[in-house]
Symmetry: D2
Subunit: 360 residues, 4 copies
């Protein structure tokens, strides 16, 4: 059972609302004796946090992570690591306008139907602010994987589709991703993307995005058939991110259009080592990693909070309208890149540990 | 933890290999006092089982389900329901040819790397034969949901894309799906699809497919944020099916291409009841069902076993070739329809029970 | 999986070390719309906290619980409730003396062997300070049960054996338990117990205790056979409390000495209602509550930190001696009463919710 | 969640009723490449099975275990091991007499209240017949531990108290336990015990028992604080066995009567290795194994089915009487020895694997 807990061995539990005093998470099952510092974690946090580019929400959060337990003399002790992030810019703007209305595309309506009560301030628990906690947990997973696997390990995500604009994935460049504010991997697409997104922002609209994640250096053998397959767990993990509506592994939905000849990745033995001639499988066969690069992608729907007036109902079921000003990302997909990386890091570490248990 | 167990409250554990004496599953957490018979279960089993159409594998299995426990005087007792299905047509053909080779696109290679041992007969545990157990468990879930929700409840799946051929989803017809062997919902597409698939079969090739699932009558409020969201659990469940590479909820991957205005489903109050004007969300907002139809789809890659000679390696890492004759489905996606329905039934029942626990 | 998480539906995760900045817990799965305040929680906290009687540790902790999430306008929202308790009196005394030695009876040695690193300050994570978080979680469970079951619900614990001194359980008086500092239920025993414990404290020794818990008003039908039986879960829960070495349900270990005639509780029908003529079963049959009072007891070993010099080894395996001064309870069993109540409250609420899921 | 599933990594799910066609279990998470045969499993099965001594039930069951999956060419493959045991001697005696009555001390009443339906034939699911499945699973755990730990590993149980008769535990002799039908470890007590039990059986009465389990060769470091402590999991596991009412670890309930000086086990360094001077802790400190012998004991209540007429009620709440003839053990505690060993084997293997995951 896991309402607000993710993972099997390496587990994290998140808590907190958009406009409460703080949010945070508790990471459990982390291996001991791994050097972890708040500074290390901030590297990932800074990539997700809002307020530092014109393409993301103007909410200003430093997202400083404070570690409250589980680290002793700079190292993990194997006990739970509690992290807290204070909410700093939770504006006391007029919630009265949305307090009794259900914003279309948001979970206002479903939270209210489920629980009969909802914290309407900034969306409360449904807010993507929760994902800051995921990034903090994912940062620790990444550090542990780095220690265990070494230099060849790497997890990188990028936006490969911004609304109607694609990019050339053959130009995938990790340095480029780090450089531009849109996590675009293709230098040639950046300018156009920026113009496009500014235009969308200007008119108060929004667009969706596709994010691709690539994990290198992952050992073969990770993943536990039948119901904890690596791809199944990745799909669940990525689909749990706010606004995600689709998940692909390798060729993904596109595999439906391929023939058996095109799709199945042939294997070559080179000096006794298996080399695959293609990677439609996305590095996973039968739910188990094959040693190839693991490739997953996911679609983020366009931000639901837009300027246009939208039809909706209020708590009493009466017809009304709503239009959301406030601080919002014109494309929530952009900041989903470090979140996707975080979830992938956690899933892979979890299976790394799990595999040690049964097959180590 | 759940290697071979699926679910939280309503759980099932499957066991068995393609060429062992039997396969089966144990369903746990089923509510008591629900009338369940082997005959009821066979309705779903017959839709999945091989050997009864020219479009599926010629392996002949009656797939008779025998209930060994948990039913007393025709009703569930709340104790585990053990079901067994004997393997009847596990041919003792020459496994020597594939015993030491890894079939491309299959999990031969990864199972061997993970476990250091593998049952190579028909793929052993990785075989889609395991999905018969899922259908048996799903049949019970469906019966329970029928009892709890009543007549308006329905879960129907169909193939909406067969390789490169689509169909007109506006012609979605439940009776048509039941009638043709391809689970095609659009009467106008059936003939062409049949020709296409026979041609593929004839040349020993294979094609992929997209399956769409629609659940009606599902109450609002099901789904447990943040890490047991209804869509997240559906994604994990569907991705766990053999050969699935992509999962969409509602507009799915396509939502990336929409604007905020196009995507977010407006709400109208009609006689105090919420009516959504569209369903890009696929009936799920913030991981919780909204009362709309729940719509999910998934892509199944083309069957990896094909006639063409393919490059691969053997257990010693030496280069070799393989071509698979034997009995295979030209499109494994077809028989995935009842499997998808089964998984969706289990996920929805599970959340139905879970919701009673916290919010009932 | 649950290293630092307890429960199935109503779950709590605790974190924090004895001498870190704070400890805390995250309660997940709490039903929505239940009025919960910090003040309510403090009622239970105050019964456990140290420093307010001569019979407990002189460490001064106000144990103020601060709620960081999950409560909106005074009510639970169904989202995780994060609670934090700052450590105030974590004395910077000379840890050098125990830093490299393993205190006999404590978990210094095993933590070090397991993790290869340990926070030696006050025992770190192994300290009973962690139990403050349990009491906070248990306080919420109690509030929910009170709301659901109503007035007849009650969980009360008492010390029924203090070292070699017993008491007359026929004199069990709930008001008396609240009145004296030793949680003694029998007014006639209090004075002698106090003298005995002061003498033990004076010589720097310690004694064990037996705590009995009684839960009234619990509905029949709670408990999930076979591996989540109510008594099995209670046993696991109570045995997880620091220093507990034995758990009894009803007649407990003593049932071994009874005959079948003496032991099995006969049933009388009174106005169509079942009345048991005795309660050797402790209110649980086949792992399911019978509607009788649920009775469990557990033994707490004597405090391991004592004045006498004890033989032990250091980190390098060298023989050495240790004697512990510092602030300690002469009988840790006393403060275990509210902890036991908390754990029992959580187990019963958990099964209450679980039963709604499967049989509600 | 785990209604009928036990364990975390090494897990087993049991199913089946006393008078259904069969019972069985599915073992999941077993490490691959371990030689396992039905014959190996039968060694443990034969020690539990009824019908082969005058001190146990006359129900004749060969308890032959048939393996249906998970073993290939004599070795585990890492996939689920399904085992089935057919019920052979499920007598069609007149169930009408107990069909509508609740047997005191049994779970008839609570199962009926919980589920609203019960399989009354031989107690259905509540029957101790289920424990045959545990012994089968435990046999596999023992084989795996033997392979991993080697010769020094051993888990042995014995009856140390038979009703009012104790024995001298200083005479603990493993060969003696194997020799007599009462699992008595002290040769000097056997004769008296036999006389005593035959007398009890003759008058149709019953007695309780205490079973002690000793595990040798267990590595230090097993056990996961705080809520999966080794002792906590052992307590839950043993309390889940039918008719168990109390569990002790090491000094157990008796530790309440000790002083701190008597109780805490001093440590001596001998050639750099820790040697404990006593074992009141039962080999577990802070929930983690210390490398000492792990010692646990549990009390089994007297068989509730006795000849004497007992007061009870029927399904309609009317007063009635019942006396149970049929086939019953005069002391169910005796056959609990191999069951206790099985549960301990499973818990220890589970923590062995779990420890590899986090700290391996």
């Amino acid at each position: 059972m896991s309402f607000n807990t993710f993972g099997k061995i390496f587990r994290f539990t998140t808590w907190g609302e958009s406009h409460g005093p703080a949010i945070g998470c508790v990471v459990d099952g982390c291996p001991p004796n791994v050097p972890v510092s708040e500074k290390d974690i901030m590297k990932d946090m800074n990539r997700r946090r809002p307020g530092h580019s014109k393409f993301t929400s103007q909410r200003k959060e430093s997202d400083n992570v404070k570690i409250l337990s589980g680290i002793f003399q700079g190292k993990t002790t194997g006990t739970p690591i509690s992290m807290i992030i204070y909410n700093e810019d939770a504006k006391s703007r007029d919630y009265e306008t949305i307090k009794n209305k259900f914003r279309p595309g948001h979970a206002d309506y479903t939270y209210f139907l489920k629980y009969g009560i909802r914290d309407y301030r900034g969306g409360g628990r449904q807010s993507a602010r929760e994902t800051a906690s995921r990034v903090a947990a994912g940062a620790i997973a990444r550090i542990v994987l780095n220690k265990f696997i070494g230099k060849k390990f790497n997890i990188v995500g990028a936006v490969t589709q911004l609304g109607i604009l694609g990019c050339d994935k053959n130009n995938w460049n990790v340095n480029e991703i780090r450089k531009n504010s849109l996590f675009c991997p293709d230098k040639k697409s950046v300018k156009l993307w920026e113009k496009y997104l500014l235009a969308i922002r200007k008119v108060g609209s929004s667009c969706g995005a596709i994010i691709e994640l690539r994990a290198s250096g992952i050992p073969a053998g990770l993943g536990a058939p039948i119901y904890s397959k690596l791809d199944s767990d990745l799909a669940g993990a990525l689909m749990s991110i706010n606004a995600v509506k689709g998940v692909n592994i390798g060729a993904g939905m596109g595999s439906a259009f391929l023939s058996g000849e095109e799709n199945s990745d042939e294997i070559k033995g080179i000096l006794g080592k298996a080399k695959f001639k293609s990677n439609n499988a996305g590095g996973i066969l039968g739910g188990i990693s094959s040693g190839q690069q693991i490739v997953a992608s996911f679609a983020v729907k366009p931000t639901s909070s837009i300027l246009s007036s939208r039809e909706t109902i209020d708590k009493k079921g009466r017809n009304t309208k709503i239009s959301v000003r406030g601080r919002h990302d014109p494309c929530v997909g952009i900041r989903a890149v470090p979140i996707g990386e975080a979830m992938m890091s956690c899933v892979i570490l979890d299976h790394y540990l799990l595999n040690k248990a049964q097959c180590g």
